[in-house]
Symmetry: C2
Amino acid sequence: MIRFDSGNLLLPPALLNRYRRQAAAAVESFREKSENGLHGFPHLPFQDQAIAEVRRYAASCKGRFDAICLIGIGGSALGAWTLDCALRRPGQPRLVILDNVDPALIGSALDSMNPRRTLVLVTTKSGSTAETIATYMVVRRWLGQNLARQVVAITDPEKGDLLEIARREGCPVFHVPPNVGGRFSILSPVGLLPGALIGVDVRKLCAGARDMTRLCWNTAPGENPALEAALAHYLMLDKKGKTIQVVFSYSSLLWGLAFWFRQLWAESLGKEGRGQTPIAALGVTDQHSQVQLYLEGPNDKVFTLWAVGGHRSLKIPKAFPDLDSCGYLAGQSLGRLFDAEREATTEALTRYRRPNCTVTLPRVNAYYLGAFLQLLEFQTAFMGELMRINAFDQPGVELGKRITYAKMGRKGY
Amino acid sequence: MIRFDSGNLLLPPALLNRYRRQAAAAVESFREKSENGLHGFPHLPFQDQAIAEVRRYAASCKGRFDAICLIGIGGSALGAWTLDCALRRPGQPRLVILDNVDPALIGSALDSMNPRRTLVLVTTKSGSTAETIATYMVVRRWLGQNLARQVVAITDPEKGDLLEIARREGCPVFHVPPNVGGRFSILSPVGLLPGALIGVDVRKLCAGARDMTRLCWNTAPGENPALEAALAHYLMLDKKGKTIQVVFSYSSLLWGLAFWFRQLWAESLGKEGRGQTPIAALGVTDQHSQVQLYLEGPNDKVFTLWAVGGHRSLKIPKAFPDLDSCGYLAGQSLGRLFDAEREATTEALTRYRRPNCTVTLPRVNAYYLGAFLQLLEFQTAFMGELMRINAFDQPGVELGKRITYAKMGRKGY
């Protein structure tokens, strides 16, 4: 299964032990809220009927589309991008995500697709997100006709303007459970439907998430990776002043996941003047961009390295054996170099006394990705419990929305 | 020209005035080093011969290649990506950047290109960067033959293994001036050559950079945007404790630039336990991901919004006028919504007393991008002077390199 190694955080065992009871209480408290129906994400991978509906619909689309165009923003887009980055396979429709109203993005994206061969997914839980509605109005005109066969809505099952729009267009609707917020919705149709449409095995994704969910209800020390990670980060933030968490993904396949996690961690925990600022970094690339700052800049960061196994086999051929910078590489695998650089970064961080931990996925596939998604969601929920903060709202984004409405002349603002 | 508006930083004029003499001294001190040949970036856009050689070579490649494959990492890659993001035009060869040794990236990139129709650029200033050399050895085998006609080296004019490799392959070499470091090299062949090969007007790019360079030697208050920005950020870091700078790009065309700047700022200033951690954010997308944290999380950030004019014209068509979330949008332009959201974010940040400033580009084209690149490089150099830090080295990255060499069995490590 996925491994969490916190040895290089240099947390004294006595400190960890002092918080064991609080950590167990965090699990119990969150479990109660979840069982009472307040928070739905732990249940998503067990919803066989929703998963089957997604698979049925995706199967009915097979061969009909060259592009899946997803209109959504924030939690409505990042889950699909995560799956596309990690699990994309050749020969499947291309995923085009319209998660911005920048005319440069929308214009060039529309130029790149064929309106007769594009399926449009419109995702907004509230049904009224300004960016999503505006983009849909533009895309709708671009599609021209066949809206009932080329548009799918993903929204609340009972209310909101998108539900009404879907009714008028006559297009299918998939539901976001009301007790699941956008950033926790990847295993609902919000992520599963675009995933299935680009060929992701959503059954395996949910199987991994189910197995992880069972681990995440455990309160025994060392048995629950989400709890271990939450406790470690709570102590790094609260006791060690590490106000920044760098997620250092040593897998380009998990680059989308790093941005998905960045929303999860920032929006869930950044409130009441508290929170930990997440940063996405990519190994080995950012060794040549950010590591100078990480090692010799302010010691205000905790590092979470993501390591993966199962590299594609690629050997470095022999060439120029007499040159110093070539000879030692010849005949070794590229994956070995990649791993050695991650290990070297870990050692360098540790020698500079920069606390770091490593999460290891045996390989990047649907099963382990599903498990990792669920681990990160539980970790965030537990962190909220430990911080005594509501990890499931986002009151700060309302002001900007209201000012935008006023500027655009929406009635009542 | 480009405008820098620092009104919302809420810096008392008395404080700014107290540092005016120090700011002018920073310009003089850096100017002296630059004129003595210690730092070359201010001179790059004036090097007509180098620019002409790049253009000649690019013209000779016209129509021969479907893909330009750039092998390089850090400053050898981010400049090209910046130009590709901002100025990419349809009908030009695709730019494929191999800036990682992740086998997943290299494998799928090679699968996606035709070796007979690909021009390979290999960029490393030292000539021995492990990632670049290893990747070249893999790509060289994939190319098969015609190395002299399909490989170009970009490296130091006098030394290093890549220079020797180029000699043996019989392929052309372009030079990185010895007094220009990787992260300051975008206006040398490191950035100009890939730019020209994908159709960027490098003459206009350099014209913008030249005009900005002239402004950047000015010491009169308010006349030098790079100095104003450096002074403002110096005070935000040193006097106001803003240890994080969020670059909030309200242009998806400038997303590559945000990552280029992230290296420039982090690697130049993150040393001796000091520095300011840069974060790249994208408007409006990250309003639905990071703004909750920005407004209600710790007040440890200064925000730099990048605004652009000249939006592509895209109107929001009329649809569902009776629905609350549609009616007010109908008939307005998408660009207006995009701008209104940026203005709303600025207002929300200011109301929450989060210091923010805005840089405005009249439009995203080669001229203004060139000017902006040079502005940001001067700003970084001046910030180094104000901090009394050497902005042009990166001593912290050596340890990780040495550990990697040892793990890979390189002789002498």
